[in-house]
Symmetry: C2
Subunit: 330 residues, 2 copies
Amino acid sequence: MATALGIDIGGTDLRVALVGDGGKVLSHARTATAASAGPEAVIAQIVALAGSLTSPAGASNPAGIGIGSPGPLDAERGLVQSPPTLAGWHDVPLAAIVADRLNLPTALDNDGHVAALGEWRYGAARSASTFAYVTISTGIGGGLVVDGRMLRGAGGRAGHVGHMVTTDAPLRCVCGNLGCWEAMASGTALARAARQAVAEAPDSLLARLAAERDVDGRLVGEAARAGDAVALALVEAEARSIAAGLTSLIHLISPQRIVIGGGLSALLDLMQPTIEAEVARRTMAVFHGVDIVAAELGPATGVIGAAALILAPDRATRFSPRTHNEKVSP
Amino acid sequence: MATALGIDIGGTDLRVALVGDGGKVLSHARTATAASAGPEAVIAQIVALAGSLTSPAGASNPAGIGIGSPGPLDAERGLVQSPPTLAGWHDVPLAAIVADRLNLPTALDNDGHVAALGEWRYGAARSASTFAYVTISTGIGGGLVVDGRMLRGAGGRAGHVGHMVTTDAPLRCVCGNLGCWEAMASGTALARAARQAVAEAPDSLLARLAAERDVDGRLVGEAARAGDAVALALVEAEARSIAAGLTSLIHLISPQRIVIGGGLSALLDLMQPTIEAEVARRTMAVFHGVDIVAAELGPATGVIGAAALILAPDRATRFSPRTHNEKVSP
């Protein structure tokens, strides 16, 4: 069985997995990302985690390594440029470094493209030639596949769906822009709206739950499922905000399907009727009927999609290890 | 010299041209589109105009016919579905009909894709592998080229850039949606704002010009160039509205260039400083420096781009004439 290593560098968690045919996770390891300690520390974590993986009987040696990293990055040059969630990273040639340290061909792409590739090859977008993958959690990211190809654009930066302008409300986004979809519809935006609702409705179930726990999308979902009117109104408003951005994406790429991942996808069943009604109301009739579905790969999307850069790539750029004579020790 | 016929079916004008290498118009003819008379009448106009073209010495017979038509249409099936600007057109197999009547292989695409193809092959996007073509006139349309390919999407409907959601102002778009970019930033939107400004500032130069002429983008531009403060404020607001949509497109496809066509591109020199400042303010730093330029092909964009479907196509679907034995007379 062909295998590859998948590495998912998150601002919170660092995950490494050995992935086999069909996107099956054969072995995995996770640690808290040393996000404030600079690139050398994180690279050392990657090498240590990869070394800790066991290989099941019958699995061949990994054919290579795929890495998903926060952007901005340059996939063609294998460079991580300056992700806001990783301190001290500036133009780090991560693909070449990891190729050398682990002595395997290595490919790099941003986390949105990698997750879209995972869902495309092994998940909810398997049969689609045109789809949008949208991950809604702290922020909103994603990847766009059109006519059977992942959009990359100049510098590989296509697919920053969270930074479409969708509102004139004075919502400041972490990117600095006003009115981004991310500022309006991310999990962070929902949590902000929920904290305000808690303050305004102290007798609601949501407020009672909030007395003991963090106010986030999960808590809103729990209160909504228990029938709390305040939480249900928050879910409804969130669904409408999500639909505004989906309307833009549908008119732009004419997808067969939209795949929703990230933490907030756990609320998709609650939001789906409103999202679908709102999208139908806001799109031209010829665009009606686009499937809106939840991502299938869950928290392993990142490592599975990263391994797909090797097992089932949509493009060719890989960085080879230098020969042992030239190799620089860690 | 290779040549092709280009046909541009507009809601107002019907244009037919013989186009040679390099997108050069060798001969052309134009008439008012019989837009309310149904498809047979327009097809008869096309046949008559094509017959009226003269071929210069040295030009070879046309290799085929390209048609640009208002959408929605299905390019793969050669069908014009139901354009709002053409009465009585429903699923008309226009490519096959024109192929038969003029006895030449025929390709069909929507007017936004066709104009983008023309600018890509012969105009302002010649060197670009990723760009957005945006035409701003009565409405807003366009075509998106990413990584060297025109985006088509399901049913060939990608690139409806005018129907991105860019505002929560209660602006009703002709498509039925609220808050479309087209409703906010088209020439129609500018004319509406100008009529209101004329009513509010009857002593302005704009109002004085408006006493004798239609209030439209051209009039606003003329008053602005003469220094009228009311007109300059309208141009400034229009530039900001345009920038909102461009911000979304830049984050989505990461273009090297944005090409602006349509009637309002005549005001681009007036709007450019504000558009560029606004786009710089609203996009992440890694996206700064995208060229924003005017289309180069002018009113002939449609016929030149249509001919490019034959002379320099980006995809293969053509409809061949049936043999003479089978041919149905007009």
